[in-house]
């Protein structure tokens, strides 16, 4: 736990307080460096993977620039001199132990700036008689969040940095600073800045669940769920447009699909004209973002898909390059739609309606628990009916439609999850997810088969692709077809595992307990 100190109240703190600390340090025999304008950028994946792994990656620019990777106490920080922009992925880092520690956590995700803090930084260190540092104090003042300058940061912040094996010097310094009457803190300055800007090192969460009571009115409950989903769409829009990480687009699309699904479930609760307009609008948003996501999945999974075939990279690299070209083109088209006045109006009008204080439920607005119980039962009925009708001769579309049924049920269970008892809900969703994984594998293989066939035709017609490339495509198509067939063969066993008496009873129980 860091040993830090700050002003008791940021409103009362003045620069003199930091100077007083530094003066005191000088009088205690510390050597004090001149102030250095310092910028610290905390880097993590959008979902805080490094934070979860107990790691902290920071780009620190002052007299030089270093990437600093810190873990818990006892372990020294790893320091890598760094020039230029912050690394965007682990592939930007040089090979070696620094990258090796980050790679398993970050994988292919982008490293994003979680917060950027500027300060005037003074370092003071005390040395022993061998002239070795035994304790360091870092004093930051003129603190400012770069992207949120109005965030209320303390005027100054001091942190005592221990040196391993010199606990006495640490304790003595902490005691002396306490004696100055400044307020102790147990955070690092970046944590203080995160808190001041309302952010968290744990990254974004896009939980669709909002707190609801079964007796709440259905209209207000639907609006609360939809407001939360809209916030997720809006949160992920800048990252999607900047192409920072494929996860932004993925999260945006999931929120759009959930929005459409909740609108569909809102029949009889939400006004018909509102439902019709926004289902259409979000449907168009789903269509506009679909090709980019499909190509993201394809490009991200490329190496894993190609590796077992042991194809020559000279043959597969041009295919990957062609896919990446397609992805870039799809991204550009998508960005045009996302930046269009139509999208702006869609999101703006939707926000207006969802936050309009004059929208009131009419007579007979049912309690949300009642509505959700009925929707859960209906979605399950449709899923079971359609699933049981699928046999070995059914077309691929039947599995695709069943996948949509499963999503509908899943979205109700998740978006209105706070109305359902947590433990049985999670147990049921695990079963449902198992079925969805099978249907997803089938659908992904179908989509990728189509994309690969299109690509082969395009390469042949445009460049007269040589036989080796076309043969490689043929082998990849064969592999995808094998995977598609494997998923298809597995379907009946998976569906049977889902369509059990115990599982059906579990869902009936969930629906019953949702009622007020």
């Amino acid at each position: 736990m860091p040993h830090s100190f700050t002003a008791a109240d940021s409103a009362d703190a003045t620069d003199a307080s930091a100077d007083r600390i530094v003066e005191a340090l000088g009088s205690w025999g510390f050597e004090v460096d001149a102030p250095v304008a310092t910028t610290r950028t905390l880097l993590d994946t959008f979902d805080g993977r490094l934070h979860r792994a107990g790691l902290r990656l920071e780009l620190r620019r002052g007299t030089g620039a270093d990437l600093v990777l810190a873990a818990g106490s006892g372990s020294p920080p790893a320091v890598l001199p760094w020039s230029g922009e912050a690394p965007r992925t682990v592939a930007d880092l040089p090979a070696g132990p620094f990258r090796a520690r980050l790679a398993p956590q970050v994988a292919e995700r982008a490293l994003l700036p979680m917060i950027v803090v500027r300060s005037q930084r003074r370092e003071a260190r005390r040395r022993d008689r061998r002239a070795k540092p035994v304790v360091t104090v870092v004093v930051d003042d003129e603190l400012r969040c770069v992207d949120q300058p109005e965030a209320p940061l303390p005027a100054w912040f001091a942190q005592v940095v221990p040196v391993v094996g010199h606990d006495d010097d640490l304790a003595r310094t902490v005691g002396r600073l306490r004696g100055l009457g400044v307020a102790p803190d147990d955070r690092e300055v970046l944590d203080v800045a995160l808190a001041a800007t309302g952010r968290t090192a744990a990254g974004r969460t896009s939980s669709p669940t909002v707190p609801l009571d079964p007796a709440d009115g259905a209209l207000d409950a639907f609006r609360a769920v939809l407001r939360n989903l809209l916030a997720t769409v809006v949160d992920n829009l800048p990252g999607t447009l900047a192409d920072l990480d494929p996860e932004f687009l993925h999260e945006l699309r999931v929120a759009v699909r959930r929005t459409r699904s909740v609108l569909a479930q809102g029949r009889g609760v939400l006004p018909d004209d509102v439902r019709d307009r926004f289902r259409t609008g979000f449907g168009q948003l789903g269509v506009a973002t679909g090709p980019s996501r499909d190509l993201d999945v394809y490009v991200l999974g490329w190496h894993e898909a190609v590796a077992p075939l042991q194809l020559d990279p000279s043959v597969t690299d041009p295919l990957l390059a062609a896919l990446e070209d397609r992805r870039a083109a799809a991204r550009a088209e998508m960005a045009t739609v996302l930046r269009s006045p139509a999208t702006e109006a869609l999101l703006g009008d939707w926000d207006d309606w969802l936050t309009d204080p004059d929208v009131h439920a009419g007579e007979g607005d049912p309690p949300i628990g009642e509505v959700v119980a009925r929707r859960v039962a209906r979605a399950q009925r449709a899923l079971l009916e359609h699933g049981r009708a699928i046999d070995r001769g059914s077309p691929a579309e039947a599995l695709h439609d069943l996948r949509k049924d499963a999503k509908k049920l899943r979205y109700v269970l998740e978006c209105f999850g706070s109305l359902l008892p947590a433990k049985p809900r999670k147990a049921f969703v695990t079963q449902l997810k198992d079925l969805q994984d099978n249907l997803g594998a089938h659908q992904d293989a179908e989509v990728q088969l189509g994309a690969l066939r299109d690509l082969a035709v395009e390469l042949h017609e445009r460049d007269g692709a040589d036989a080796d490339v076309l043969l490689a495509v043929g082998r990849m198509i064969g592999e995808l077809d094998r995977r598609r067939q494997e998923a298809r063969d597995d379907f009946h066993a998976r569906f049977a595992a889902y369509d059990t008496k115990r599982n059906r009873a579990l869902l009936d129980e969930l629906a019953r307990r949702a009622r007020p």
């Binding site: 990437l67 990777l69 873990a71 006892g74 372990s75 020294p76 920080p77 790893a78 320091v79 890598l80 001199p81 040089p94 090979a95 070696g96 132990p97 620094f98 990258r99 090796a100 520690r101 790679a103 022993d128 061998r130 002239a131 070795k132 540092p133 035994v134 221990p162 040196v163 391993v164 094996g165 010199h166």
Partner: protein, 250 residues
């Protein structure tokens, strides 16, 4: 954590300066380093400005102590040091009193495996029970070789000894204290490269700046980063890193 020992049967070949400078260059490449000074002379301890004191002596440490309790920070934030003191002159005796002496060094390092990327063991010149314990722990032995007529013989003795060990460490010989102006050094360096295919490409020069480490009490890279010696240690670290992290080195 990878474990590397700077080791030679001969003394005065540059083991300690290799360990200290390699620790610094590794830290500059984003590596968390623990230097464990096993030489009772404590030269690495001195160069890192750490107090030469093993609390309770090496008997207590080897007989059931924790290495972490002895670790000290240094001027370089990512380099920690487990210091030596004169009690290490009896290390063989103390190891001999343990149940599995050949595994004892590895056992002492094991609890620190998540805290460091690299442990650099600076060994005294000998072949002894302590050396065997080091061989049992190390992934690689970095063996400085001075260009002298008996250099090859020294390496042969070491490899012959290691042949009898289970899972012996990789031997990485490197030329140390080389004076390229001397024809004899050039000829012997060429001969060694022929005889020892694993000989590292980097040759550490005989340089006054390396001797100055004792005055500066710091690695060369810290007080003379633009010298040929500092460049040699940087290149040496690149080679050692390639050998230690092959899967992550493009």
């Amino acid at each position: 954590m990878r474990i590397v020992a700077t080791y030679s049967i001969k003394g005065g070949v540059g083991k300690t300066s290799t360990a200290v400078n390699l620790a610094y260059e590794a830290s500059r490449a984003g590596t968390r380093v623990l230097v464990w000074d096993l030489d009772p002379q404590g030269s690495a301890t001195y160069l890192f400005r750490v107090r030469p004191k093993v609390r309770g002596g090496s008997k207590r440490l080897v007989g059931g102590g924790e290495l972490a309790a002895h670790v000290r920070g240094s001027e370089i934030s990512s380099v920690h040091v487990a210091p030596a003191d004169f009690s290490l002159r009896h290390l063989d005796l103390h190891l001999d009193a343990t149940a599995r002496p050949a595994e004892r060094i590895a056992a002492l390092l094991e609890p620190l495996a998540d805290q460091y990327d690299l442990a650099l063991l600076d060994c005294p010149p000998s072949i002894s029970l302590a050396s065997e314990s080091v061989f049992g722990a190390a992934d690689a032995l970095l063996v400085p070789v001075v260009p002298a007529t008996l250099a090859s013989r020294t390496l042969n003795q070491l490899t012959a000894f290691l042949e009898g060990q289970d899972d012996p460490p990789r031997v990485l010989p490197l030329l140390s204290m080389v004076d390229r102006r001397r024809r004899l050094h050039r000829d012997l360096a060429e001969a060694l490269a022929r005889d020892w295919p694993d000989l590292l490409d980097t040759a550490v020069p005989a340089a006054a700046v390396i001797e100055r480490m004792g005055v500066e009490r710091a690695p060369v890279g810290l007080f003379a980063p633009r010298t040929a010696a500092a460049a040699a240690y940087r290149a040496l670290w690149d080679e050692v890193a390639q050998a230690l992290w092959p899967a992550t080195v493009a």
